[in-house]
Structures are given as structure tokens and as C-alpha cells.
Symmetry: C2
Subunit: 644 residues, 2 copies
């Protein structure tokens, strides 16, 4: 290492982290200094909800809401900027992030991507400006992950040219619906479209739920979900529909339509593929959640590291009390998590850029839009995987930060309780993490081909079984030999653990090996008496493969991100952070890697020692690394983060 | 296995789990059905505080508060029953657990164990009956873990026969003090005792903080700590003392006293030993926290497993939707945690019994009390270790339960948010977990001998360096050979992973090996130029040794607990639960075990496969296993835990 870690300039680092939409980020940071966005703790639910709505209005006035919409309706046609703006909101008020996400990402996104011109004309300008608040009513009490099995129905009545929306029973009520309990006037409702006695699968419909006076519309029943662990500024509610009639035109008919006579027509014949195409247009929600989770993690790390740099406890040999961040155990709690946060940040930059590139020009007329971008399918799988890993990372890291701040971390004023509670559900909403990782594994097994199985679990097994998966047969003898040579060479040269090629090799091999062996196991399901048992026995294997894939994506993104920096102390510093990310990941997986003959005991111990050394090396740069996130003081807010 | 897991009777299991103080447990369960103890969510802070105080009064009336005090003052002289009662409170209102712990465990415990007859006469009857509420004012803003370095002073003024209590600066204010913000009238204040210009170390003093009208006493400033992540029914506050005068008699003088002339006398000459003897009498606080954490964990597991047995998602091959607890990934989230909860339960039973046995008869006059029980020192180390592991286990398990319940787990009404938020600080208070594990490791290295070093970290290194630790020198060649033989034998016989002797051997060897190698590393600190660096580099090793020790304690307690059951389906079931505990622990540590040549790759894979199989085996008994905890329906309360 030629440069001392302390030589790095946080402003230079921040500029690199800010990426393509750095102007949006800077504007968002300015917003945090607006007193109307001051962090508040301990308000009652009604006050929080009112405040969040007020902040929404500011976002609308200041143009944030317009970013992701066509210029024709007052938008700015900048989907990447839109997601980046959402991500930055998460440094402050997470209820605002979620409510804004519901209004402009989910509700607005459904109108934009699933609707056609008549819907755009009717709703877009109003929803951007907040004259109209809306809901995204997909999840039901009985079906959250398995949304293809939703049970709300929308039955076409040709006599009156209307759909009749109906909640068949309690478990089919719409559940956890943001904007429903208080502010929403319409909802995009996902329901089984029935016409001529036949169900055509889940489609989206615009259903008014409140009148101008804010009273529920006839046939609509609304309940408040009540107090939640966090995000209490979002008015989540339940919706029940008792034969609610809506005009036929309220079907969001981008991919399928019903004519006056009740004949169903669609541009995508395969029912499952049609449904997933509809869901796929909503990928931006998952990307926003991943970004929001990363932002909250950054705030927590900034607080904990700034505190850990000041807080002293127990006298050292010279009698002076030692800064807690100088203890290895404290570094171990925070620095590998910080390194992974960097990896996730770079992956998020790529994800947002990928979304921007693969989303057709928002201003182009619908009939001139090109077909699906060839990279879109891969992007969706990647978004699912990064969402899962980023949100679990947020949960564990914010927890570690709370503990690292001791009793002070338990006080609401120091922000960590709010960050924890608000982000907790991120692992669940916009797709349960476990289910998302299964989706990732399935996409990997099918090689991103144009195949859409069910989002379910059994579907994966059967689908794989039907496929001729191109699996490199593992020739055990030969492979083992090669490895032994490698290991023999490396055992005596433990410095090799810092070699980036070796990291890449291990990461890649781990993913490939998990996938190959997984494919072989799952193919047995086709002939098995109990295919569910075959699949279920391999479920941990499936999840491990998806995790390995995401780790691989993160490493590649990190390396790519470093390449965007010129030579200098900042780049040198990030190389060390990347080392820590790679090696702490290998360390965490070393049980499995050893089992598969790819790591000798000596080299495994060398990995642990290297993680410890990297912690010590990076300790003096810890403050620089969190400063580079550019968390505004007003968003950090925690008194313990500032000089005592 | 001769008995099907489903043959076990939860009532028989519960009786075994209830242990020696089953009558106290049953009475506590009855309390949960009292409408005054109904679980409430979403109340404002003031309402919560009022309600918790009202519940305290019920506890006093019903005799719960009396359990741990001498009969002379209205107590029942049953320390074990007292701790058991606290533990059960944690199934319901955790603020009540903590406020009761402050009042009767910490404040009452300090008066009882650190005070003498005059203090007992003056305070015990009133504090039991709740005519007097008190605080335990130890922690300061600047010193929490390193309590020997507290900076509040109590200076003897012989002219007026008084101590003058003073907070020298902001960082020496008493922080997070329960009962301080609202209800407490006196505080046991820990301060440096100064007499004749000399400091004698930290001692405890009774200081009135409010007058009869509830106004702060002259010179006492009280602040409210404000909103916390949880436990908002407890009125935590800050105390500042500006030359507050108290009579000399207010020194709690069991172990040391100052006479009228200001001469200091003590029965324990070594300053550090004296301080730790004072702290040691308060071990019951740590045991209560461990028990409380275990109770909260049980409630969370009961909710998540009952929900997981009803909740269905995604259709199986026969078209019927699959119960989520049938998925391996779901079992993996909950069942190993359930197995560890059983292990912790049995360890807690032993801990409480140990406390009861090693605590001198509360009714015996002070001058007739025997000296310290020979097992007391080990009990204290064990309590520290189990507190750390039990509270971390609570944090991770309740989080897993929240996620396993999806969006429903995020609603306050389903209890998991409250359980999470309330127990979060358990990893910090009554001793930060990381610091406690260091204490455990140090006690292990010194062989429970009569040596008390500082509670600090450097002290550990230097102390070990000074000691002649009896370390079995690891003869690498010979040991490796023996192992290879063992491994060779076992590789081809993978059924051996269910062998309890093998579990015990691995658990024991892991602890011993970590301790031996640790001792060797730390001894180098004596001669090192930078002893802190030697110590600090080994800190993760130190923590690993302590964890290994606690795991060993848990396994032994589990096996011992099983022995208390007669042959039958319940015993057979617990054997399988113990298998899962042992093997999931080995699985989690398999990276390290492989590195140390004690597990072949094949056997390591067999361990993973066995964990998966045990999950499937225990799945049908999951409900029985949580029913056996005997969580009253009224304490569980979560609607999702009951049939939909």
C-alpha cells in the first residue's frame, strides 16, 4: 500500500460514490437542511401521518415527484434520478420514503406502466402534484408472497359495461396497503379478472375508495392496520370490496383488455408470463427499497463510527482511556459491515443505471415503445437479489450499531431505534427476502432465458427438472487434483489472501459449484415419488446459491466502482475496503469452502488474520469512509454523533 | 428413536421445564390472566409509566416483591423463587419486569446485600411494600462498563459527620437510571468514597432524591432520558448532585465503613477485590435478565411457530397450499433457535438453583453469615456468560420470528415489535455482553481462583501474563495423528454425528483448545513492547473462548435436564432437541473446527445433513415444544398465534 488510509479526501470519495445522479443527491442533501424536514422522534401516530403528508407536498412542489414521469404530464423523464432521489430520502424520514414510494413508485408506477394513455391523461398530472393520492392494493391477508393466487375478483358485467370488484372473504381483504387508512382516494387493485365465467389471472384496476369528503365509497370498507413496529407516518390500511362497480375503462390495459362484449385479448398469451411482465414493470420498487436500506445503514454506521471515535472506556497501559473503536471487537462489529455497505453502494449504482438504460423512454408514445430490453430480465433478478441482501444487511448492521453505542444507542434521540424499527419490514415488503432469493436461484438455473415459471417454490423444482440445464459435470478426481496443487502453492504463501484474482476465483467458483450441484439435485425431482421432498431438502442449497450469486455481483460492482477512480489515496483506500469485503465474506463462508476442498486450514486461518489486520489498517480511515456517504448533519441528528 | 415426536405430552414436558419453583411459575401464569395485566400496545409514555406502577403495586400486594427478602421485614426468604417470578413476568409486560428488577432486584438488593441492619430496618419493609421507590444509580454517562472508574464523589466531612455527594461534570451524571425520572424517592448512588483527602474506591450511598411532594431534593437535578426504543413504561432519568449532604450512616457499610473521625476501615483489604465483592452480591440482576430474555424468546417462538403451523403459501404438487413451517428454510429459521432456547432454559434452572444454594440464608443475622460459598465465583462467571448468550439469542431469535411472520409480524398487535424493542437493550444493561464475555474468559484462565483483576481488558492480559497458567502444551504432531485416526474411523460412519459423546467431546475440546492457545498468546503480553496490541489482537480469540465455554455449559445443562425425565416420549423428544442444539452449534462453528483438523469435509457435510433431518423430524413436535413453555394465552396475546 503506497498511500496511508488517512490521506484520502472524503470529498473526493463522496464524488465517486455519488455517481451519475450526483446533482439529485446534492439537491436531496439540501432538503435535509430544510427545517420542515427536521428529524422528529416520539410523535403520536396522527401527528406523524400529518407531518409526512406535509412533506410529500413539499416534494411535489420542489419537483421530486416529477422525476420518474413523462414530461407531457409535468414529469422530468428521468427514472434513474427518481430512484436516486428516493434513496436519499431514506437518510431522513423513512416513513416519507415509504409513503412517497407508495404514491409515486407503486401507485404512479402502476398507472404509468400498466395503464394506457387514457389512464395517463386521467391520473398522472394529478398524482404527481398530489391532487390525487392513491394506493397499490396487491397484498391480501391470505396471499402476500404468492400474489398469483390473489382471491379478490373483478368480474366483467357486459350488461352495464362495468367490472364488479369483490372481496370473497376475510382472508382476501387487501392488507398493509399504504395510503389506505387515511389519505388515498383511489387504489390500483390487483384482482382475478373474470369475464364470461372464465378467470384470466391477476390484473390491475383503478378503484375509487373515497369520495371528495374523504368518506369510503359505497361498498368499500376501510380499516386502519393500527400501530406498527415503525413507519408509523404511513397510513397502512385494509380494504374490503363488496361488489364495487367500476367502468370497464378502469382496467389498466397495457398488456390485456376486455372489449365491450366481454372478450378478453392480450399481447402476451402465456398467462404466467403476462403476470410476470406486469410485475416486472414494477422492479423499481425493489431497487428503491434496496437503496433506502443502504441509506439507512449508512446513517447508522456514520452515527456509530463517529461515536466510537470519541467514546473512551477502560484505561490502557499508559493510563489514558482507550477509544472504543480501537478495540478489535468493536472494529469487527462495524468495519466488515462498512465494507459490505460500500459493495452494496456500488452495486446499487449499477442497478439504478441498469434500470435507467433498460426502461424505454418515458416520453415515447406507447405504440412506439421498443420491446423488452435484452438485459431487463437479468436486471430484475439482480434487483431481487440485491434487495434481499441489502435489507438483511441493514437489519443486522443497524442492530450492531445500536449495540456498539451501548445505552446511548437505545435512546430515541440518537436515531438508531427509529432506523431499526422503520427498516425492519424492508426484509418483508416488496417481496419476502427468502422468496426473492429463490427467484434469483431459478433465474440463474434457467440462464436468464425467456422462461417464466411460477413465483412459487415447487415450480422451481419442476421447471428445472424439465429443462436441459447446461451443467458442467463435476469431475471430482481431476478437480480435486488441480485444487491440491493450488492449495499447496498457496499454503506456504499466505500473503496471497490479499490477491484480488484469488477473491474473484473463490467467489465465482462458489456460485458455479452451488448452481451445478443444485441443478443436479433438482433434476431428480422430475422422477421422484415426492417431488416436493426433493425440492424442500434442497431449499437451503438453493438459498446458498442465490447468496453466492449476489456476493459475486457485489464484488464485481465494487471492483468496477474502484476503477472509476483515478490513482491516488482514495483509490488505494477503496482497494483495502474491497479486500475487507472480500475476505470477511470468505471468512463467513469458510466452513463451506473448506468442506469443498478449496481452502486449506492454514489458508483459512490466514484469511481470519488478514481480516483482523485490515480492521486495524482501516480503523484510522473509518471516519473518512462514513463522511464520504455525505449524510447531512441534520439527517444524522443523533447528539452522540457530534463532538461531546 | 422409539417414540414418535408427536407422542410427547406438553404438560409432562412443561412440568419438567418448570423445575423446582414450579409453584411460583404457576402463580405467575395466573397473574397473566388478571385483566389488570392485559397486554397493551401503543399507549403514550405517561400512560405506560402509570400502568406499570399500578402493576408494581399489585405485585407488592400479592407477595411477589417479598420473595427475595428476609422474613423479618415481610419477606419470604426465597431468592430462587424471587428470580423465577421475575423471569415469568417477562412473558407479559417487559417494562414491569425491568421496573420490578430496579426496585426489588437492584435497589432492594443493594440495601439488603451492601447495607447493614440499620439500612434494613430503615428501608426493607417500605421498599417491599412499595411505600418507598428507589433507584440504583451506578452507570454514568462517561462510564458504563468501566464502573470502577466512576467519577461521582462522596467526600466525608468530619465537621458535620456527613458525606457530600457531587457530580464533578456533565459526563459524571448518573445515566439511564430506572425509577429516577418519575417515581423514585431515594437512590443508592455509587461514588468514589473520599475521606481525609484519599479516595477509597467506589462505594454505595443512600441519597434521597425527592421530597414527600415529589420535588427534587435541594442540590439534586433530575432529567428524563426521554423516549427509548422500548421499555417506555420505565422512567429512566439522569441525576446530578451538587454538593448534596447525607448523614454518614447512609453509607451502605457491609464491607467497609468510615468512623466519626473519618477513618476508613474495611473487611476486604484489596481495593479491587472489595469492589468486585460488592458487585458480586448483585449477580441476581444478571440472572434475572438472562431469564427475562429467555421468557421473551419463548413468547416470540410460540407466536411464530403457532402462526407457521397455520399459515399456508404456494400450492404443492397436489394443489393444496403448503404450511410454511413445512418448508426447510422456515424450519431452519426457527427450530435450531428453539433447540437453543431449551438449552438456555435448562442452564437457567441450574443458575437459579446455584444462586439459591450459594446465597446465605437471608434470615440469618449479618454477623452469623458464613463466608463466601466456594462455588459462588464460578456461578458469577457463569451468570455473566449466560446473560450474554441468552440476550443475544433473544435479539436474533425474536428478529427471526418477526421475519417468519411476515407483514403480520410487523403489526404491534402481534407482540413481536414490542418484544424486539423491549429486549434490545438486554444485551447492554447489567453489563455489556462483550465485556461480560471477557470477564468469563478471564475467570476461566485463572481457574476460578481467588483473584480479582480489574473488569477491564488490559487487566486481563497483564493478569494472565503474571499467572502461571497450567496450560497443557499442545503437541501438534501427536495430537494430529490421534485425530486422523478418529476422523478416518468416522468419515465412513456418518451416523456417528448423532452420538452425544462425540458432541460432548467436540464441545469440550473446542473450549479447551481455545483457552490453551489464548493463554499462550496472552502470556506474551508481559514481555511485549506494546502489551495492549498483544491483548487487542487476541480479543476475538478471547471472545470465542468464552462463547465456547457457555456452549459447553449449555450442553451439560441440557443433558442434565433430560436426565430428570423418566423414559418415555417426552424424554425421547428432548434427546432429539438436544441433538439439534448440539449439531446446529457444531454447524455454526464448523469453519473453525475444520481449521483445527477436528472435522473432515465429509463429516462436516454430514452434520449439515443431520441438522436438516432433525428439522424435519422435529417439525411435527414444534407445537408441543412451544406449548411446553406454558405461555398463558393472555400473555401471548398476538391474534396471529390463535386459530384464524
Amino acid at each position: 500500500m503506497t498511500d496511508a488510509p488517512t490521506a484520502a479526501d472524503p470529498a473526493v470519495l463522496r464524488d465517486a460514490l455519488d455517481g451519475a445522479w450526483r446533482d439529485v443527491r446534492q439537491r436531496s442533501r439540501g432538503l435535509a437542511t430544510d427545517p420542515r424536514f427536521a428529524v422528529e422522534e416520539g410523535e403520536d401516530v396522527e401527528t406523524q401521518r400529518r407531518r409526512v403528508l406535509d412533506r410529500m407536498k413539499v416534494l411535489a412542489t420542489e419537483g421530486y415527484s416529477a422525476l420518474g414521469f413523462p414530461t407531457k404530464y409535468g414529469g422530468s423523464n428521468d427514472i434513474g434520478g427518481s430512484i436516486t432521489g428516493f434513496e436519499m430520502l431514506a437518510m431522513g424520514d423513512l416513513s416519507l420514503l415509504v409513503k412517497a414510494g407508495v404514491q409515486w413508485g407503486l401507485f404512479g408506477g402502476a398507472i404509468l406502466h400498466l395503464g394506457t394513455e387514457r389512464h395517463h391523461e386521467a391520473y398522472l398530472a394529478d398524482l404527481i402534484s398530489l391532487r390525487l393520492l392513491g394506493c397499490f392494493a396487491m397484498t391480501e391477508t391470505g396471499h402476500g408472497s404468492d400474489v398469483a393466487s390473489l382471491r379478490t375478483t373483478a368480474t366483467y358485467d357486459p350488461d352495464r359495461d362495468e367490472f364488479v370488484v369483490c372481496t370473497p372473504d376475510e382472508s382476501a381483504r387487501k392488507e398493509y396497503i399504504g395510503n389506505a387508512a387515511r389519505d388515498g382516494h383511489v387504489a390500483v387493485v390487483f384482482a382475478q379478472l373474470v369475464t364470461g365465467g372464465e378467470s384470466q389471472g391477476v390484473h390491475a384496476f383503478v378503484v375509487p375508495i373515497r369520495d371528495d369528503q374523504g368518506r369510503p365509497m359505497p361498498g368499500v370498507r376501510i380499516e386502519d392496520c393500527g400501530l406498527k413496529a415503525g413507519l408509523n407516518g404511513v397510513d397502512n390500511g385494509r380494504l374490503y370490496f363488496d361488489d364495487v362497480r367500476i367502468p370497464r375503462d378502469n382496467l389498466l390495459n397495457r398488456y390485456a383488455d376486455v372489449d365491450r362484449e366481454g372478450v378478453y385479448r392480450t399481447s402476451i398469451d402465456n398467462k404466467t408470463k403476462r403476470f410476470f411482465t406486469m410485475l416486472g414493470t414494477l422492479v423499481q420498487g425493489r431497487i428503491s427499497v434496496a437503496g433506502g436500506a443502504a441509506s439507512a445503514t449508512k446513517v447508522a454506521l456514520a452515527i456509530a463510527i463517529r461515536y466510537g471515535e470519541q467514546r473512551r472506556q477502560f484505561a490502557g497501559p499508559d493510563g489514558e482511556e482507550i477509544t472504543v473503536l480501537d478495540y478489535l471487537a468493536h472494529q469487527r462489529k462495524l468495519l466488515p459491515a462498512l465494507a459490505r455497505t460500500y459493495a452494496l453502494h456500488f452495486a446499487q449504482l449499477e442497478l439504478v443505471a441498469g434500470l435507467h438504460e433498460t426502461t424505454p423512454d418515458l416520453d415515447a408514445p406507447l405504440d412506439e415503445k421498443p420491446g423488452e430490453h435484452p438485459d431487463r430480465r437479468e436486471l430484475e433478478a439482480r434487483a431481487a437479489g440485491i434487495k434481499a441482501i441489502a435489507t438483511w444487511h441493514a437489519t443486522s448492521t443497524i442492530q450492531a450499531c445500536r449495540e456498539a453505542c451501548g445505552g446511548a444507542g437505545y435512546l430515541a434521540v440518537n436515531r438508531l431505534p427509529g432506523l431499526k424499527a422503520d427498516t425492519d419490514v424492508f426484509t418483508t415488503f416488496e417481496g419476502d427476502n427468502t422468496v426473492l432469493l429463490q427467484l434469483v436461484a431459478k433465474e440463474l438455473l434457467t440462464g436468464y432465458r425467456d422462461h417464466f415459471g411460477e413465483l412459487d417454490m415447487m415450480g422451481t423444482a419442476l421447471f428445472v427438472a424439465e429443462q436441459t440445464v447446461e451443467t458442467v459435470v463435476e469431475r471430482v478426481g481431476g478437480r480435486r487434483l488441480l485444487q491440491r496443487i493450488k492449495d499447496a502453492a498457496s499454503t506456504n504463501d499466505e500473503s496471497g489472501v490479499l490477491d484480488r484474482d484469488w477473491h474473484a476465483e473463490i467467489f465465482e467458483w462458489r456460485e458455479r459449484h452451488l448452481l451445478e450441484t443444485l441443478a443436479r439435485r433438482l433434476r431428480k425431482a422430475a422422477d421422484a415419488d415426492d417431488p416436493f421432498a426433493v425440492f424442500n431438502n434442497a431449499q437451503d442449497h438453493l438459498l446458498a446459491a442465490a447468496r453466492a450469486h449476489v456476493d459475486n455481483v457485489l464484488l464485481a460492482a465494487f471492483v468496477h466502482g474502484i476503477d472509476s477512480l483515478p490513482e491516488g489515496p482514495e483509490r488505494a483506500l477503496l482497494e483495502r475496503v474491497c479486500d475487507l469485503f472480500a475476505l470477511s465474506t470468505i471468512e463467513a463462508e469458510r466452513g463451506w469452502i473448506q468442506e469443498h476442498g478449496r481452502l486449506t486450514a492454514a489458508r483459512s486461518k490466514a484469511v481470519i488474520a488478514a481480516v483482523n489486520e485490515l480492521c486495524a489498517t482501516l480503523r484510522p480511515a473509518a471516519r473518512t469512509l462514513v463522511d464520504a456517504f455525505g449524510v447531512p448533519d441534520e439527517a444524522m441528528a443523533a447528539p452522540i454523533a457530534f463532538e461531546q
